[in-house]
């Protein structure tokens, strides 16, 4: 193995990178997916009841409502438009506060308050908004409930917010697209275009080519993984351990990429294989989103052994010492893949020679 030649091939691949949409793909897609996933899943599972308010007077209710955590409040001036929004389910419920409402309530009266509910809003949402409305009116009336609510939070140590549960998913994309897809498609493209033949009749050898491709993939995957973790502020209390698992993960997926790149006869086949088999390596990222599902299933995926530690370190505050098992398995997988990569490389070299 001549490291200088490896370096020359790395430089060539990096130079070619920006000229191909592949690198853009590897850099842009993970970030885009990170944003999309956070936006879609984050908002989807964290939707708040939406209350529209039309205040025809000068009530203190809109201000008090807007200050509440837990509901989303919008104000407008047209009751007809509000009714329209309620009917279209743009808000879950609407309040039309007549003029002089606050004074009437303070005087002990029971003034009319139009409470419009969207037919599509959930019963629980309706309950929340109804009870909250009563509370807001009572607040305006000046009466405090004769009760003090003492909150006890249970199971905080096991709870992981959804945003943190998304981390394995976003890290997965960052690492896999750059670490696996990039070396794999680069290899396949060189084989298809026969540029690899030209390289192999120089002193360069297949192991050097594979090493160079792996270096590019691992480096980019690590960088993208670090950026993703930084964007999510998810390095946890042990950034060293986090980086270790990230790098090991990058190495693992790069090795898978090299095996795939040596095996797939063309880029269509590669794409198809990733399309069909991707779910297998994607499992751990998916299972982290749904903690109620039996997590042992995710252990069959090799990517579990770097994604789960990253999740445990970043989101659950795990210590490095609790992750020895995962580290051992991860190292074992990475080590066992080396001869597989070498064997596939030899096969690819032979296939290149016998195909005209």
């Amino acid at each position: 193995m001549n490291l200088q030649r490896v370096g020359h091939i790395v430089v060539k691949d990096l130079r070619l990178g920006p000229r191909s949409p592949l690198l853009l793909f590897a850099v842009v897609m993970p970030l885009l997916i990170t944003l999309l996933v956070a936006a879609v899943f984050g908002s989807l599972f964290d939707q708040q009841p939406r209350l529209g308010i039309v205040d025809l007077g000068d009530s203190g209710i809109p201000e008090a409502a807007a200050a509440l955590d837990g509901i989303e409040v919008t104000t407008s001036t047209d009751p007809a438009a509000l009714a329209d929004r309620v009917e279209r389910h743009d808000v879950d419920a609407g309040l039309v506060i007549p003029e002089g409402f606050d004074d009437a309530v303070r005087a002990g009266e029971e003034p009319d308050l139009e409470f419009l509910v969207s037919g599509r809003s959930l019963a629980s949402t309706r309950a929340v908004l109804a009870v909250t409305t009563i509370d807001l009116v009572r607040e305006v009336a000046g009466g405090e409930p004769p009760v003090e609510v003492v909150t006890t939070v249970i199971g905080a140590e096991d709870y992981v917010p959804l945003g943190d549960r998304l981390i394995p998913l976003t890290v997965f994309y960052a690492v896999v697209i750059a670490g696996m897809f990039l070396p794999a498609s680069s290899l396949v493209e060189e084989r298809q275009k026969r540029t690899m033949d030209a390289v192999l009749v120089t002193p360069a050898r297949m192991p050097e080519i594979l090493t160079a491709k792996a270096i590019v993939g691992i480096s980019l995957a690590t960088v993208m993984g670090l950026i993703t973790l930084a964007l999510n502020r998810a390095f946890g209390a042990n950034p060293g351990a986090m980086v270790l698992f990230l790098v090991l993960g990058a190495v693992m997926v790069a090795e898978f990429g090299l095996v795939l790149g040596c095996w797939a006869r063309d880029v269509n086949t590669l794409y198809t294989a990733i399309k069909g088999g991707g779910i297998f390596i994607f499992l751990p990222a998916l299972f982290a989103l749904f903690p109620g599902v039996p997590q042992w299933i995710a252990r069959i995926a090799p990517t579990y052994y770097f994604l789960q530690p990253i999740y445990d370190l970043g989101a659950r505050g795990a210590s490095f010492g609790s992750l020895w098992d995962e580290l051992a398995v991860c190292l074992a997988i990475v080590t066992l893949l080396v001869p597989a990569v070498a064997a596939m490389g030899r096969r690819a070299e032979h296939d290149l020679a016998i195909v005209t």
Binding site: R5, R194, T202, A353
Partner: protein, 286 residues
Amino acid sequence: MSRPAIAAADLGYSYGDVRAVDGVGFEVAPGETLGFLGPNGAGKSTTIKMLTGQLRPQQGTIEILGMRLPDRLDDVQGRIGVCFEEKNLYTAMSGKENLVFFARLFGIRRFDPEPLLDRVGLGGRGDDRVSEYSKGMRQRLMMARALINRPDVLFLDEPTDGLDPVSARAIRDVIRAEAERGAAVLLTTHDMHEADSLSDRVAFINQGRILALDAPEALKLEHGERSIRIRFRSGDGVEEEVVPLDDPGAADRVRAAVAERDLITIHTEEATLEDVFVRFAGRRLE
């Protein structure tokens, strides 16, 4: 006697049940150009692949510059140049970038691609991407790439296939210059004119075997047919008579034609390499 640059003996290779190369052996001296002539599927490319280290022979031995393959593959590949039939260039890179990259693979630290580009007629186009090159330009760059390390042995696979006459001539000039420099050149082609003009010796290969190996002139003289073609007026039209010179009554026939016919032209013709090949192989070169 100097050591041969290429020495192949009894080479054999099969793809499954298909015997692609069957007992091929030959030598090429430094400064000599050997043309490998044969139709598609004859075994030319498989032989080249064994000689360049891409395939390990299943039978036979190979020595390049006195170094046995595959044992000394690294050393051999540092001293050979290969121009492939397929245009396997990095199209997203410029001509210069392609050459510099390969120079680095040969361990050449400071490499100036300009002289080489000028030599193959790509001066001034080195900074353009290969994707913008014409077919002829790509082939010139392929040739330039094969010459980066000033090889002692050049393997050229169909180097002028599909090129316009100007580009083809440029490539041939380079090949001649390399041979004059002392490089041994192994040239595969199914263009008999090219083989005839470039090669010191020609090997006919068909169905994995070498049918004949000699200088083109010697092959034509020994195996080809010389003749005289006589064109004359006959009635309102023009007729031809071809007199094989090896026929016993050839002289009489020629004298009779000169005396009796209303002659237009008389030409002597010699056999082409293709004619000789057909004699050996029973088929055309295509």
